[in-house]
Symmetry: D2
Subunit: 355 residues, 4 copies
């Protein structure tokens, strides 16, 4: 893939100079989102994207709402607090990694009377992850409802879209329908999970809506060491990722489709393998909707054996949501092969047979 | 009381010069806590005390555990994050404002394997409030257990003691028994609630245990504008508060005793007034153990009337812990008079009679 | 003086409740500055005042210009960076503690083309000290010119007025003429140097001009632990300081007049004492214009003896501006007595005589 | 070059897996510096390298000394303050971009008595740039003297080595001689200027000497979004840059040699072209020692014409150090061609002839 990527770069962008690469990448991103006026800032990591986007709209006195499982809360060592100067994350609950609308409503309702109180943070931003940390999906209607609720209380909405292409493909929806048309104000758009080396982008649909607009974003990026002197490298990756990947299908789409299809195939075959052992093997901790599988297994010797078997084919121990059970995560990618799927199924089958 | 305070100052500390005031105040605090080597830093507010104490032990990469109702989390607009450079507060549950030991154990246990992970904050400090935000008390044994648990995982323990004298009096325990002898490493000791104008103190029992020890505390206080050029003023207040307040009883003790006694009296008489209307009037949201009363009332027209009546005698609407109910807080002080207690009881009685 | 102060408090403000104290203090400050719409925030220290004022107008991406000798640069351990999230101080030169207008012009001119560059801080604020750290004064015309220059480049102007009353008295000018009528947008107004225990105030003439206006100031003050639960104490001090101090003259004025007069008297008598030893004794490092005297002495055995002699009457070693020379600072206050002046003169005389 | 680079990558590191790439890069860096125990952290930008390195040794209460022209001070929008939580940069003077040893000595001497004062920042780090911002060089002896001075006062020494290879080649010295053997404690080692796409590295020679050692560095990098999920990409670039670039000469060396040689050639030919116009054309603002040329020209119509001519061949207007003169910077690179050199000389010649 890296080779294809490299080969693609000259082909699709060869005649561009440094600035033209960046302009082409920004244009391609705007095109994908059908947002000709969007501000686009390429970055090298999802953490940088999330933190720069959120900090453009939230300062030390603001509060940011997010799901309790969200990446910005659990996996970034306080990047949002770092970039924003201390904005706290207010965790919300909700099944399968999705923010519960009524819990959000309650939280915003409780906070509203305190908006003028000097001791309270002002709720300023809602951050949603699509697909979620649990691999599940918000429908367009669900997004609209959450965004409307947030906007009613004066919050902006950020979307952590590190794996957004997987959602677009799974829901058969356009990038604009799942973002600004639903009310999302800014997106961290990831391409690294989809096959590039390291290229993400902050996309702000209404620069005026954020604190400092594009100017502050660029300045903050500079200050954080995220402005590359040779940014054409980032841009070229984004160009290639959004360009035709063969047969008239953009690379991002074919990559995401393959990853999702592998996951669906793997899920079906794992279920089939376990069918005869019902109740005694695994169940899904979250429904399989994109390219992540979360298997919930009992904390028993048999469960331990299954966990070990899945570990040999790339399964990672994960937080269990239920007492007395454990969890393993499997992730498929654009380049997951039929053999890898078969190997995972085989490993489970062997363990089930007690081998 | 302010007058008494002012009169006391010259009497108890008159012959001291500027530095001698501060030395006398520090000595008095060390004496109270039976901690001759403690580091003592006077401040003008509880927020400053809490933030300076916690920031001396927790930096941007550390995590601070506290009860979800704690003052540092709900009422300080992110002071801990400000002073520490971004240390996040990890809220814990627990009945009646007290941190639940098993929930803490679970949280520390989950976090332990991540100690070396770059994406995770390192659990570094547990902050306990005594008496709690719900006016309840940790016993010495409960404190010991929580501190031992925290120390087992390498955390320091901070105590928010803005109302500590009320706890000392209610539990009949010494200041040392409820702090360092129980494992507490640092205390924010408040005197303002007890009658001074504005005087609190950071007390660190083992300066060496904290990041920078006293030096960093003083420097941070300076940087935050909390070093007063005429600090003898703060010191004089602390001197007076810890000195004999009449009859051989220190002022802090008699003040706290009066506040607690008034609260107990008020609670008893409110209960008696409501006895005939049982089930139809109020119940305690939290047990009354110090000088704060939390009345839980139904969300009914009758409940509303009671809330209004209590509002006329100083009751404040408070967060209810139960759906379908509302809460009112009443606080007694060192100078709450018999008449004020009677007025509160009378207001409730009248409302109960439907007047 | 502290006693007088305390006695004054009940007399002048006795019938006010908590809020009325604060309202009265704010009204008195607005009255002094002839600025009925000014935002007034009492604080306990000059550092807090300066940092809160500046941080209301300057964030991490802004630059603050100030004299290289300014208190915010040399004596506050980075308070401005702390409160603003990192705004750097850009030091300017200038004789006798006064910002050199042409150096400022050059700096702003150089910075202007970089305003849009992501790598550069945006010049946002000029902070002037009146009287300066060298005890000297900006005339009204000088202030106007500096403010006009700053405003031309889009900067706001802050005045560190920790000793502002000494300037008002020395220049015979009104508080408004030396602040907003000259173009100053916000002042840290000090009263502690003038005799109160610990009371300063942020005064913002055009709240709308600053980033967050009064709301952000109050929130930031809360977050920093500078909101006192019993703020009437601060307010009462400010009331007393701005009220009639006897004979129809406000206390601030009589205090400042006495301090300045003592300084002038002391300067005259020190010069007289040294007259016979011309060239061999001291000269002024800065002209004596308010209540601070800076004596420049040679780095010789004789100079050392004079420094020692001045040390016995309160003189402090200070940074010398000239190689081969040393400096001693003497400060007079509202309560400097005739005896103290005579003692200082006597000490110098004895040392000059070689005793 | 980028193509060569890419081609090199698989060749030199092809058989390594992800972790092996990183291990190989770290080993190659340690080898270059003859420092088998050094901590190596790859990053994507020089700003990130500098800020991460410095912040590992300097917190909010520390002060960092650097040349007034240094990149960390003028070109990074406060990155050091951002990463360190507010450490101020203390600018030092010195000819040709080199820190003046006696000015440093004076600054450290003045600061020493304040080390215990709460109002002062503690001098903690000296940052030197090699080659300097003026393209000049510290000799090994000069570095040793500056480092010894810094160490005497308890400071650590950081080297901004964004163009370090140009210095190694110009001085004919080893990487260890110009760093840890001279007393440098940590280096930001750049490869981007030398031809890679975006790859720099923090190199800490004595991890124990810095505040948090490698652990804090990695955590801070994570928090800032500088940990790449696919870090093998960075590693591969570093591998290729440090590996044999042909003929047994490492790529970094041949790249730097070519850049320096082009600069020397260009300087010689520009001087020759201007010989006939002596006094009327240009002089060097700084001696040409590596690959940067700074031409000082008069602020006259003729000078303006020369500036315009140089602008057509890549010259950039630069800060002039002298009143009445202006400056243009020319930089050569590893891939500067003979034609480009000739074009620059031709442009100057034509302008001198008044064409």
């Amino acid at each position: 893939m890296a080779a294809l990527q490299q080969a693609n770069v000259p082909r699709s962008c060869a005649s561009y100079g440094a600035d033209e690469y960046s302009a082409a990448a920004a244009a391609a991103v705007r095109d994908l989102f059908d947002a000709p006026d969007a501000y686009v800032l390429p970055t090298v990591s999802g953490i940088a994207s999330d933190a720069l986007a959120i900090a453009s709209a939230a300062g030390p006195l603001d509060a940011v709402f997010c799901h309790r499982l969200s990446h910005i809360r659990l996996w970034q060592c306080g990047a949002v607090a770092f970039y924003s100067g201390g904005a706290p994350l207010q965790p919300l609950g909700g099944e399968d990694g999705k923010v519960c609308a009524s819990e959000l409503a309650l939280a915003l309702q409780s906070a509203a009377p305190l908006a003028a109180a000097p001791y309270a943070h002002r709720p300023s931003l809602l951050s949603l992850t699509q697909p979620t940390e649990a691999g599940t999906l918000y429908t367009g209607a669900e997004l609209k409802a959450l965004c409307a609720l947030a906007h009613d209380y004066g919050l902006l909405v950020h979307m952590d879209g590190a794996r957004l292409p997987n959602a677009l493909v799974a829901l058969g929806a356009s990038a604009s329908d799942l973002t600004w048309r639903a009310g999302v104000d800014m997106v961290s758009f990831g391409t690294t999970k989809g096959g590039t080396l390291a290229a993400e982008a902050v996309v702000v649909f209404e620069p005026a809506a954020s604190l400092g607009g594009g100017a502050a974003d660029a300045q903050l990026a500079k200050r954080a060491g995220h402005e590359l002197s040779k940014s054409r490298f980032l841009a070229a990756q984004i160009c290639a990722y959004l360009a035709d990947g063969g047969g008239g299908v953009p690379l991002w789409r074919s990559s995401a489709e393959r990853a999702n299809a592998s996951a669906a195939d793997l899920a079906r075959r794992l279920e089939a393998a376990a069918a005869g052992y019902d109740g005694d093997s695994f169940r899904w901790q979250h429904p399989v909707q994109t390219n992540q599988l979360f298997l919930s297994l009992p904390c028993t010797p048999r469960g331990d054996a299954l966990v070990r078997a899945l570990g040999t084919v790339g399964g990672t121990p994960w937080d269990s949501e239920e007492e007395g059970r454990q969890c393993v995560r499997l992730v498929t990618a654009f380049d997951t092969s039929e053999e890898e799927v078969a190997a995972a199924v085989g490993a489970l089958e062997a363990a089930l047979r007690g081998e």
